[in-house]
Structure formats: C-alpha cells, structure tokens
C-alpha cells in the first residue's frame, strides 16, 4: 500500500513514517505542502493520505478539496493541530475520512489508520 505523508515539518513526517513502518507500511511518498503533493499525485496516486492542515503554498484543506475533485474514494486522514470542533466538521465536509489531533501518540495514529482502512474495507 502506497501512503503519502503531507506535512511541512520533516520531523512530523519522520514520526508518521516510523509509526507506519511499525504497522508494516514502507511504501511511503512525502510532500512538504499541498502543491508538492498535487504534483506527485499527477504521476502516482497513493492508496492513503495523511495530510496536515497548516502548510505554506497550499494548505491541507485546499489539498483535500483538490484531491476529491479527481478521486472521491481514496482515504484521507487529516493530522493537525486544529482541534476546534468547527474545523473538524469543515474538514469532514471537504472530504477527509478521519481526523487526528496533535499531539498524538503512536497508538492513536495507528488506531486511526486501521479504523479508516477497515471502514473502507481495505485490508491493512
């Protein structure tokens, strides 16, 4: 399974990568913002996105909307510091499948990924 991590913090991307590798996922794509992520998806569409909200050039919400115009089924998990309920609803409306608020633990992120994939009937 190909997973794309979109976050402007390399440290956070590394953390996510470690959690994913513990879950057995090693086919990882990385992007530092929404623009980079979109250009990558032009050549290879991942099977799962982990997207941060606040990023330079193109934020996570705009990215999610863009992805949904092309692909309505690919699972997207928003991993963000935005904890307000209204923001969560906004993200869900834009098309995210699940929401992880920072700070998170490895267990929380792992659970959310599994939860999202099993809801969509994708084998983990």
């Amino acid at each position: 399974m190909k997973i794309m991590l979109v976050d402007d913090s390399r440290t956070i991307r590394n953390i996510e990568k470690n959690v994913l590798s513990q879950l057995g996922h090693t086919d990882i794509l990385e992007a530092g913002d929404g623009v980079e992520a979109l250009s990558l998806t032009a050549t290879q569409m991942p099977d799962l996105f982990l997207v941060d909200w606040n990023m330079p050039n193109m934020d996570g919400l705009t990215l999610v909307k863009n992805i949904r115009t092309k692909n309505t089924t690919v699972p997207i998990i928003m991993v963000t510091t935005e904890a307000e309920k209204s923001r969560v609803i906004e993200a869900i409306k834009a098309g995210v499948n699940n929401y992880v608020v920072k700070p998170f633990t490895a267990e929380t992120l792992g659970e959310k990924i599994q939860q999202t994939l099993s809801k969509l009937g994708i084998a983990v």
Binding site: S9, I12, I15, N18, T81, V101, K102, P103, A106
Partner: protein, 506 residues
C-alpha cells in the same frame, strides 16, 4: 641425403624425410651436362615418382644446364607433401584466473602483493576450457608413398576434483582447493600447499581450503584461509586470517604490524609485537613480548613468559612467568575482553546521558499535556515532536541495554576461571579477572593463582599459593573508561594497495 642414384654426369639425392629429391652434378662432368631424358632415367632408377611438376622441373633444369652447369648446388627436381603433425588439446584458463595486466600507462600504484601465482577455487567454479587440438594429416614422399604424422599427442586429462560440463569443453572444480595444471592434466588439490615462502613469487594467498606453507611468510603478505593455516617456518609482519586454526612452527616477529586472527585455536612458538585474536585457545611454546592476545578460550604459556603488552583468555590464563624485567607495562587477564568491555562502558555512558534527556523531555511535555485545550498549534506540534523524541530515545536505550546484557553475559566469570602463574609475576603487572583488576607493585613468587571471590559481599581478586594454600585478598579496582586500556588493532596495509583492507575480527 639418404638415398642416391648415380649416372654419368649426375646423381639423385633424396632428403632424409623423403620429401625432396635433388639432382647433383659431378664436377668432372660439368662440361657435358645430362639431358632431360638422362635425368628422367636417373629419376626412374631412383624410383622417384615423375609427376607433371617433376617433368616441368626436369625440362627447366635441362634447359638451364645447357646454358650454365653449376656443380656446387643441388637442383630440386621433386617435392612431396609434408605430413601435418597433430597438436594436443589445450587448456585455456577462465578469464578471472588470467594474470592481471599491470599496464605502465596506468599511473595508479601497483600492488605487487596481489599478483597471485597460486590459483584457488571453490567447489563449482569454472576453471577454464579445453580447446581442441589440430588434427594430423598424411603426407606423400617423392616416391609416391604415404608418410604418416610422427607424433601422437595424448588427450588432455582431468585429474582429481575436476569435471567436464555437458558441453564437453568447460572444466569445473568439484571441490574447493588449489588448481594444479600440469602439461596435459588439470586437478584440484584440497590443501593449498606452498613449497617455499609466501613472497612475491606467490603473492597474497586467499584459499577456500586449508593452507600449508612449508617456508615462511614475508613482510606484509596476507594469507587467508576458510580452513586452517599451518606454517612450518617463521612469520614476519604479515596478516593471517583463518576460519579455523592457525599453527606456526616458528614464531612471529610482528614489529607492531602483524595480525593473526583465527576463529579457532592458535598454536605458535612465540609472538613478538603481534596482534592476535582467537576464537579458541592460544598456546605459546616460548613467550609473548609486547603483544596483544585476545582469546575466547585459555591463554596458555605453561613453559614461557608473558612480557609486556596485554593478554586475555576468556576461560583463563596459564603462564610460567608474567611481567617485564625492564618494568614494561604488562596486563594479563581472564574472563575479560577489553574490546567488549569498552562497548559495555560506552553503552552505559550513552544510556545514562539519554535517560537524563528523556527525563528532561518528559518533564517539559507534562505541563503541556495536562492543559491540551489551551495549547497553540505551535505548542501542539512541538509537544508531538518531543513525545516521539522521548519515545524513540527510550526505544534506542532499550535496544542498547539488550546488547549490553548479551555482551556482559559473554564476559561472565565462572568460578573456575583463574590466572595461574607457576614461577613469578614481576612488578608493574596488572591482573584482570572480569571487570576487576589489581596492579602489583612487588614481585610475586609462584606457583600461585588469582581467582575472583566474594569477600564480605564484595568481589575481590584473591591470590592463592598453590604450595601452601595460603590466600591473600587484594582490594580490587573496577575498570572504567579512564582505567581501561583498549588495545589498538593494526591496519592491514600493503604498498600499492588502493584502499587499506578492513578486516573482521575472528
């Protein structure tokens, strides 16, 4: 000339191989040379087969003789066909065994130590190909008789541990060993034997089998064997690596460069400025001077001295005498390996620092986590990073502690481990058992042994006199990063070698 037929004016001579026939004029008949008919008759008498070519030559000769008869030179009148001699099959080495080209245009230095003359192979290696020889062909003599080729080369033979592939050409080794190519035979010997010294005649040796050297090993040569290495002569500042035992009948004069590494026992007369590592026991006949010896078995010098340097036997050490009369620092130890112990100390050191850091991180994150809702996005981001940093550090520490546990177990001191000295221990000698050590300031007369005992709940080195049974307890120090002397392994270097070779420990 073998045969001759003579007539007035000329004679016929036939070459010994019967391939050529000549007309030779006699000096007294130079004024009246023979006619073509006379020459033809002469050839018939000599039973020379008269072919068209012979006729032409006769006519030409008769014409020439009429103009000018020379008596000094024989005239070729008939020529047969020389038989084609067959050649034997030829062995052609596989490309990997052909001598390396050391072009003078190559400005890189040439490592002459690497110019191998001895070919060694592993089981299944293609050694080369057998090229077919030339087929012989009959000839014809001047009498019209068939001449058969004289030579009958024997086919190329396959000796022990080689076989032909189904293509009938490719020769493959069926055992590991040294390839021996004789005139018309190839075989593989399961022991690589060097009749003389290991020097520029042989180059470095790298063998999949046991190696037996009848002579000595000269400076800086590398001998590597996946089996055992036996040397009947001496070893200079050379490098020996064996997957099994190393046996040296002479000694090793290492000059601070020599390395002996064996995964099993090492048996040598003496070592002088040598770095020696063995997976089994080390047995020295005479002495060790200023050397480093690390072995997983017993360091055994029952009839000799350990003078200067460091010597450790994981299962114990036995010597006649230990220490330097000149006061050179000498360390002898049991159930101890300074390289392993250094790793343990390094792990302890870094683990202590990392644990302090983990504690510091957790302390700084705790207040943030208790008021999550009030955190700014930046604080949330930072808190995530710090939590994971602490988690990952903790994982690293756990892994290193696991490794430390394994290392410490490898140096566990069993009750029977001892340092046994039958004659004397000179001052300025350190005795190590496990991580405990003492420095002797005065001479100790043998026969004695040092053991590690628990005295009032503290592990101390105890000296036991083997004759009287009397004991003396020493207040022992514990080795730490400051007191530990870590031996330095020499680098394998050869002039002309592009990269110093990195070698693994036994």
């Amino acid at each position: 000339m073998a045969q001759a037929a003579v007539m007035t004016g000329a004679k016929i001579q036939v070459s010994p191989d019967r391939i050529r026939a000549y007309v030779v004029l006699r000096p007294e008949d130079a004024q009246s040379p023979p006619t073509a008919t006379a020459l033809r008759d002469l050839l018939l008498i000599a039973k020379i087969k008269i072919t068209d070519a012979v006729e032409k030559r006769l006519d030409a000769l008769a014409q020439q003789l009429r103009k000018e008869a020379k008596t000094s030179e024989p005239y070729l009148v008939a020529e047969g066909i020389t038989p084609v001699e067959p050649t034997g099959q030829e062995f052609i080495w596989d490309g990997q065994f052909k001598p390396k080209n050391t072009s003078s245009e190559d400005d890189a230095a040439v490592n002459f130590y690497e110019q191998h003359k001895l070919v060694t192979v592993t089981n299944g290696t293609v050694i080369g190909k057998i090229a077919p020889g030339r087929v012989g062909k009959d000839g014809l003599d001047v009498h019209g008789q068939v001449i058969q080729p004289h030579t009958h080369p024997r086919p190329f033979k396959l000796g022990k541990y080689v076989a032909l592939d189904p293509d009938g050409k490719t020769v493959r080794a069926t055992s590991s060993g040294q390839v021996v190519l004789q005139k018309d035979k190839i075989s593989v010997h399961s022991v690589l034997e060097v009749a003389g010294n290991v020097d520029f005649q042989t180059g470095n040796i790298d063998s999949a089998t046991d190696v037996l050297i009848h002579g000595s090993i000269q400076d800086l040569f590398i001998v590597r064997s996946r089996g055992q290495i036996s040397v009947k002569g001496m070893v200079e500042a050379a490098y020996l690596f064996a997957d099994r035992e190393i046996t040296i009948v002479g000694g090793v004069k290492g000059r601070g460069k020599a390395i002996l590494e064996a995964k099993s026992d090492v048996n040598v007369k003496f070592v002088n400025f040598v770095y020696l590592q063995a997976g089994g026991d080390v047995e020295l006949g005479k002495e060790s001077i200023d050397s480093v010896i690390l072995c997983d078995g017993v360091l055994n010098i029952p009839n000799g001295s350990f003078i200067g340097g460091q010597g450790y036997g994981m299962k114990g050490a036995v010597c006649k005498s230990v220490g330097s009369p000149a006061g050179a620092r000498t360390i002898i130890g049991a159930a101890f390996n300074p390289l392993v112990y250094k790793n343990i100390l390094d792990i302890d050191h870094s683990a202590k620092k990392d644990k302090e850091l983990i504690q510091k991180i957790r302390t700084s994150v705790q207040p943030l986590m208790s008021q999550l809702k009030r955190l700014t996005p930046e604080q949330r981001e930072k808190a995530t990073e710090l939590m994971f940093r602490a988690d990952s550090l903790e994982q690293e520490v756990q892994q290193r502690e696991q490794l430390r546990k394994q290392l410490a177990e490898s140096m566990q001191v069993s009750p029977e481990v001892e340092v046994d000295v039958s004659e004397r221990i000179l001052p300025n000698t350190q005795i190590h058992i496990g991580d405990k050590f003492i420095l002797l300031h005065e001479e100790v007369k043998g026969p004695v042994k040092f053991v590690l005992r628990s005295v009032d709940g503290v592990r101390e080195l105890v000296l036991i006199n083997r004759l009287t049974g009397s004991t003396r307890t020493f207040i022992s120090g514990r080795l730490d990063r400051e007191t530990l002397t870590v031996p330095v392994k020499p680098e394998v270097t050869q002039p002309g070698s592009k990269n110093p070779e990195k070698t693994s420990s036994a």
